[in-house]
C-alpha cells in the first residue's frame, strides 16, 4: 500500500499556491491540494487517487485562525479540528459546529485534519457539509482571478465534488450566528464509535408561541452530498413543537429521501429508517435547546 509517485510543492503563500494550481491546470497536469491529508492519504496509499502533483497548504501563512467577525465566526481553512474543538469562541458562539467537530473521527485525526479540508473534500458521510447547509455557511474561495464567496447551498455539487475550480483554494469559512433562541442538534449512527456515519442528521429550529419556526433538517451519509429535507421541514413549520409532530416530520424525512446509498452496513431502506429515527431524536433534542 504505497502511493504512486507524485511531485510535491509546499508554497509559503496562498498566491503562490494558486499560481501553481493555475500553471498545472494550464499544463494539463493533475494536481491536488493537500490540507491535513487525513482523507487523501488513504486514497493515495490505495492508489485510488493518483495525482501527479500535490500542493501542500501546510506551510501557507495565515490560514490558521478562528476569529469573530461581528456575530459571525471566521475560521481559516487550515485550522485543525482540534483547535476548533478546543476553541472557547467556537464553543460559545457555534455550538452546533462545535458538537459536529467533536464527532469527527478520533483525536489523532482531529489533530491533523483541517476544517477547510473536510469541507473541500466533501465526503457525503462527513458532519461538516450538513452543518454548512443547516446554517448557511459561506466559503471564501481564492483563485487566479481573485476571490469569491460561495454559499453552502451552492458549494457541494456531488460525491466528493465542490464548486471550487481546479485552481481555486478554499481559504476561509464564515459561520453566521444561530439566530437567538435557535435549538440545535446533531446525531449520527455509526457501526463503531468514531466511524464514518451510516446516516446522520443536523437540525435547528426555533419556537414562537409553541409553534415551530425556521426548521432546518439536513441528512448526511445517505446521498452523494449532504441534503436538506424540505418536506420534513415544511411539515413542522407553524406546528406545535411536540412529539407527535416531530414523529410525523421524522417519518416524512425518511420517506422523502431520494435513493439513499446502499453499502454492506446499511441498505437504502435501513438508511431511511436511520434518517427517520435520527430526525425524530434530533428534533426532540433541538426543541429542548430552543428558547
Amino acid at each position: 500500500m504505497k502511493p504512486a509517485p507524485f511531485d510535491y510543492h509546499a508554497p509559503r503563500t496562498l498566491e503562490a499556491a494558486i499560481a501553481l494550481l493555475a500553471r498545472f491546470e494550464l499544463e494539463g497536469v493533475e494536481a491536488r491540494v493537500l490540507a491535513g491529508g487525513q482523507s487523501l492519504m488513504p486514497m493515495l496509499a490505495m492508489r485510488v487517487a493518483r495525482p501527479q502533483v500535490l500542493v501542500d497548504l501546510g506551510k501557507v501563512e495565515g490560514l490558521d485562525y478562528i476569529r469573530a467577525d461581528g456575530d459571525a465566526l471566521l475560521i481559516g481553512a487550515m485550522t485543525t479540528k482540534t483547535a476548533a474543538a478546543e476553541s472557547a469562541l467556537v464553543a460559545a458562539q457555534q455550538p452546533l459546529f462545535h458538537a459536529a467537530t467533536r464527532l469527527v473521527g478520533h483525536r489523532q485525526i482531529r489533530n491533523r485534519g483541517s476544517v477547510g479540508g473536510s469541507f473541500a473534500h466533501a465526503d457525503p458521510a462527513s458532519e461538516y457539509p450538513a452543518v454548512a447547509l443547516v446554517q448557511d455557511l459561506q466559503f471564501r474561495a481564492r483563485g487566479p482571478s481573485g476571490e469569491r464567496w460561495i454559499p453552502a447551498a451552492q458549494f457541494f455539487v456531488s460525491y466528493m465534488t465542490t464548486r471550487l475550480d481546479p485552481a481555486e483554494i478554499l481559504a476561509e469559512v464564515r459561520l453566521p450566528p444561530l439566530p437567538p433562541g435557535t435549538g440545535w442538534a446533531i446525531q449520527e449512527f455509526a457501526r463503531r464509535s468514531g466511524d464514518l456515519a451510516l446516516a446522520g442528521i443536523a437540525a435547528t429550529l426555533r419556537r414562537e408561541r409553541g409553534q415551530c419556526t425556521d426548521v432546518r433538517i439536513c441528512a448526511f451519509g445517505v446521498n452523494a452530498t449532504a441534503v436538506r429535507l424540505p418536506a420534513a421541514e415544511q411539515a413542522l413549520l407553524g406546528r406545535p413543537a411536540d412529539g407527535e409532530h416531530f414523529s410525523r416530520a421524522a417519518a416524512i424525512a425518511g420517506e422523502s429521501l431520494e435513493e439513499p446509498m446502499s453499502c454492506i452496513h446499511a441498505s437504502a431502506d435501513y438508511r431511511r429508517q436511520l434518517v427517520r429515527v435520527l430526525t425524530g431524536r434530533c428534533l426532540e433534542e433541538a426543541a429542548t435547546r430552543a428558547a
Binding site: A4, D7, L34, Q38, M41, P42, A45, R107, Q108
Partner: protein, 160 residues
C-alpha cells in the same frame, strides 16, 4: 519521475536532514530512513492507530502524514520516551508493564504516545476520558481493560 525533497525533521530531539521521495509516509521515514522501528504500522490507511507519534506535541497517525509534510516539525516517537541518560522507562511505559496493559505489544507504542498526550493535557482523567482518548487505537489482544488500568496507574504515578 518525482523530485526528491530536502526534508528536515527533529525526532526525539535529534535533527535529521534527508532527501526523500514525496510519497514516503512519515511512518516509513521513521522506520526505514531513520531506523526507528518502534513506530509500527498496522493498516496504512489511518484506522488502527498503531503508528501514532506526536508531531509538534500532537498525536498523529504517521501513516496519514507524508514525511515531507513534517518538514520542520518536532516528532516524538516511542524511542523518545525513555530517559536518555539512564535508559529508565517512562512512567507510562512502566505502568503498562505493571498493569499488564500489553500482550503482543505491537499496538503498544501507539497507545503509549496517545497516553502521553492525554496525560499531558489532562493529568487526572476519568475512565471515560481515558476511553475517549484511546478510541482511535485498536488492540486485538487485551480487550482494553488492562490498558485503561495502565493509564490510570500511569496518571497516578505521574501526579506523584
Amino acid at each position: 519521475m518525482t523530485t526528491r525533497q530536502r526534508t528536515t525533521i527533529t525526532v526525539n530531539g535529534t535533527r535529521y536532514e534527508r532527501e526523500v521521495e514525496p510519497r514516503l509516509s512519515l511512518a516509513d521515514f521513521l522506520r526505514h530512513e531513520l531506523h526507528l522501528g518502534g513506530t509500527h504500522v498496522g493498516c496504512e490507511h489511518g484506522v488502527c492507530g498503531v503508528c501514532t507519534v506526536l508531531i509538534d506535541g500532537c498525536s498523529a497517525r504517521s501513516c496519514l502524514t507524508l514525511a515531507v509534510q513534517a518538514d520542520g516539525a518536532e516528532v516524538t516517537t516511542v524511542e523518545g520516551l525513555r530517559d536518555r541518560e539512564s535508559g529508565r522507562l517512562h512512567p507510562i511505559q512502566q505502568a503498562f508493564i505493571d498493569a499488564h496493559g500489553l500482550q503482543c505489544g505491537f499496538c503498544t507504542p501507539g497507545f503509549l504516545m496517545t497516553t502521553l498526550e492525554l496525560l499531558r493535557d489532562n493529568p487526572e482523567p476519568s475512565d471515560d476520558e481515558i476511553r475517549e482518548a484511546l478510541g482511535g487505537n485498536l488492540c486485538r489482544c487485551t480487550g482494553y481493560q488492562s490498558i485503561v488500568e495502565s493509564v490510570r496507574l500511569a496518571a497516578s504515578r505521574l501526579r506523584g
